[in-house]
């Protein structure tokens, strides 16, 4: 995987921590967007970005946006998972991703209780094409008046919140003490309320998580 982070100390901590984890190896560590592009997108015998599964990117790089970098990396490797790290807690930046590449993007806040296990989980989930939105940021959000999200029942809202945190249906069931079957029903209800139940939605799970962001306010 690749790590792009402009703070030297934080980058070293990340690389050391991630390398020590089983099944993870950091092949590229860069300090800015330009050098990351040079290393990962350089036209050679093969693009280096195709040899990695996940990129961990700081959103505010010294020379540009980590999100734009992520979009470029994703264009070169459509299966790449991307974990964004940010000091500014603006989850809404994910809403402006091109619609066809919204899957596999995770967002973790540097200011919340970011731990190595949480980061490793986000890396794993992103590699599978799902998303983890920082639980602390997600918990702070409230449905905005007049939106589909505000019409969900309390239970449905809880289920959607955990979905946005990147939990699987089984994970949601055990967290809420519900039967897996009942979580499935809740999710079907959420998709129906948000208008995601029709066949046209390619990835309703990712779409639902983004709708959660779109229709809630950080409080």
């Amino acid at each position: 995987m690749a790590v792009v982070e402009d703070q030297a100390l934080f980058r070293q901590l990340l690389v050391t921590g991630l390398d020590a984890a089983p099944g993870v190896s950091v092949s590229v560590a860069a300090a800015d967007a330009a050098s990351a592009r040079r290393t990962l997108l350089h036209e050679g015998t093969d693009l280096a970005v195709r040899s990695i599964d996940v990129a961990v990117l700081d959103v505010q790089l010294g020379d540009g946006s980590g999100i734009d970098l992520g979009v470029d990396l994703r264009a070169a490797n459509p299966a790449l998972g991307i974990v964004l790290l940010s000091a500014t807690d603006s989850l809404d930046v994910l809403l402006d991703l091109p619609r066809t590449i919204t899957h596999g993007w995770s967002y973790l806040s540097k200011t919340s209780a970011l731990s190595l296990p949480a980061l490793l989980r986000a890396i794993e989930v992103s590699a599978e094409g799902r998303s983890v939105f920082d639980p602390e940021l997600v918990a702070r959000r409230r449905p905005r008046r007049g939106t589909g999200l505000s019409r969900l029942s309390t239970r449905q809202y809880e289920v959607l919140r955990l979905l946005a945190e990147g939990l699987s249906n089984a994970g949601i069931a055990s967290r809420l003490g519900l039967a897996p079957r009942s979580v499935d029903n809740h999710i079907a209800g959420i998709y129906a309320e948000l208008g995601l139940a029709s066949g046209g939605v390619v990835n309703p799970r990712v779409a639902a998580a983004l709708r959660f962001l779109d229709e809630s306010a950080a409080s």
């Binding site: 505010q60 500014t88 603006s90 930046v93 402006d96 540097k110 209780a113 306010a217 409080s219």
Partner: protein, 403 residues
């Protein structure tokens, strides 16, 4: 514009020619009619051919008008052929005399031809030629003076237009430099300073944790906030640390971010769409809004696409920001709708709200400020009541600068 203000284009030349001919024709025409009328009615001079018979006033007048009219026609022909208005002083003197004298000679010839004078009236005819030459010269002088005045006016207008253009360009350069500095400052606050706050906060957290572990042997990370009691000095130090950390977080979260946004709107470099979205992000959940971006706009100013210059994009985002804050501050709005389109090489934005609208037709200073900036780039902004008569509507046009 690259031409100098006093450069003469073919259109200018045609214009000068028209003015010279028209003025010359009118002035000489007045002379012609005036002299004819004077001869017939005031002086009562009769043509040689009419002497001895019953004078017919109408015929007398027509005869004189024809003679004088021929002078005007020949004079106009001379101006059209010789173009004195395009010449310098010596050229004007030469051609001017030639035209006036030619016209006078033609008039004399006609006067003899139609019997006003007999070929033997040498003195009378000479006098007529001299006075007609003087009249023609005066007419031409007036015509040339008129043309020159018009030319000076045109040059002056062009010079001031160019001056305005140069000041606009200078202002744009200044704005672009200011914008660059603002961005650097905002980036510094946003990135470097914020990151250091994060690290400081993390170090304090580590201190609190270490203190707690040492004091109670409590497993680390079980609680993030220290809840000390005042009777224990160690615990109160921990509480103080926690308070400092909360202050730091607050400072970073509120003050730094607000300052950075003031200098340079969030996400401005990623396109107008993310920047406008970022404006609405901090609104409390009780405010409903719809952000409606057309597909054209998404293709031009979102998803990493940027077609506007940073200055134009900032202007567009400031329009939305100003409308939003007016709606909330003055209109107490609870519902907002933003529609952004791109057509005819311009971005068109409409912001509707459900607030109290405009109680009186006030010109808000922020809108006025934006209008000045929009004037410079050929855009516009209008503030009025909403389409249903409720709330307010701001509509603005920002040319994309590519036309």
């Amino acid at each position: 514009m690259t031409v100098t203000p006093d450069a003469v284009t073919p259109a200018d030349r045609a214009d000068d020619r028209r003015v010279t001919l028209l003025t010359f024709g009118i002035v000489l025409g007045i002379f012609a009619v005036g002299v004819s009328v004077q001869s017939v009615f005031v002086l009562g001079i009769l043509p040689r051919s009419m002497m001895g018979s019953d004078p017919v006033t109408l015929i007398n007048l027509v005869v004189r008008l024809v003679a004088n009219g021929s002078a005007v026609a020949v004079g106009l022909l001379g101006v059209a052929l010789l173009n004195p208005q395009e010449r310098g002083i010596p050229g004007r003197l030469g051609t001017g005399f030639a035209i006036a004298f030619g016209a006078a000679l033609a008039r004399a010839a006609v006067q003899i031809g139609i019997g006003i004078y007999a070929p033997g009236d040498g003195i009378e005819v000479s006098a007529e030629v001299v006075t007609a030459t003087i009249a023609g010269s005066i007419s031409l002088t007036i015509a040339l003076a008129q043309t020159d005045a018009r030319r000076r006016l045109r040059t002056g207008e062009r010079a001031s237009a160019q001056q305005a253009l140069r000041s606009a360009a200078a202002l744009e350069a200044l704005q672009s430099e200011e914008l660059r500095m603002r961005r650097e400052l905002a980036d510094g606050l946003h990135g470097t300073v914020q990151q250091r706050f994060v690290l400081l906060s993390a170090r304090i957290t580590a201190l609190i944790e270490a203190d707690r572990r040492g004091g109670e042997g409590e497993p680390s990370g079980s609680r993030r906030r220290a809840e000390g009691s005042d009777d224990d000095p160690d615990r109160s130090a921990t509480a103080e640390l926690a308070a400092i950390r909360a202050d730091l977080d607050d400072l970073r979260e509120q003050d730094l971010r607000a300052m950075s946004r003031l200098l340079y709107p969030a996400e401005l470099d990623r396109g107008a769409v993310p920047a406008i979205r970022a404006l609405f992000q901090p609104l409390p959940s009780t405010i409903a809004f719809v952000l409606d971006f057309s597909d054209d706009v998404l293709a031009l100013e979102a998803h990493g696409n940027r077609m506007l210059s940073p200055e134009r994009r900032l202007l567009l985002v400031r329009i939305v920001e100003e409308s939003l804050s007016n709606a909330l501050k003055h209109g107490h709005a609870t519902e907002l709708r933003v529609r952004l389109d791109h057509r005819d090489s311009a971005f068109e934005v409409v912001i509707d709200d459900d607030g109290t609208g405009l109680i009186e037709p006030v010109e808000l200073s922020g809108i006025r400020n934006l209008r000045h900036q929009l004037d410079l780039v050929g855009g516009r902004i209008d503030l009025g009541p909403g389409p249903s008569g409720l709330g307010a509507r701001v509509s603005a046009v920002v040319p994309d600068g590519r036309a």
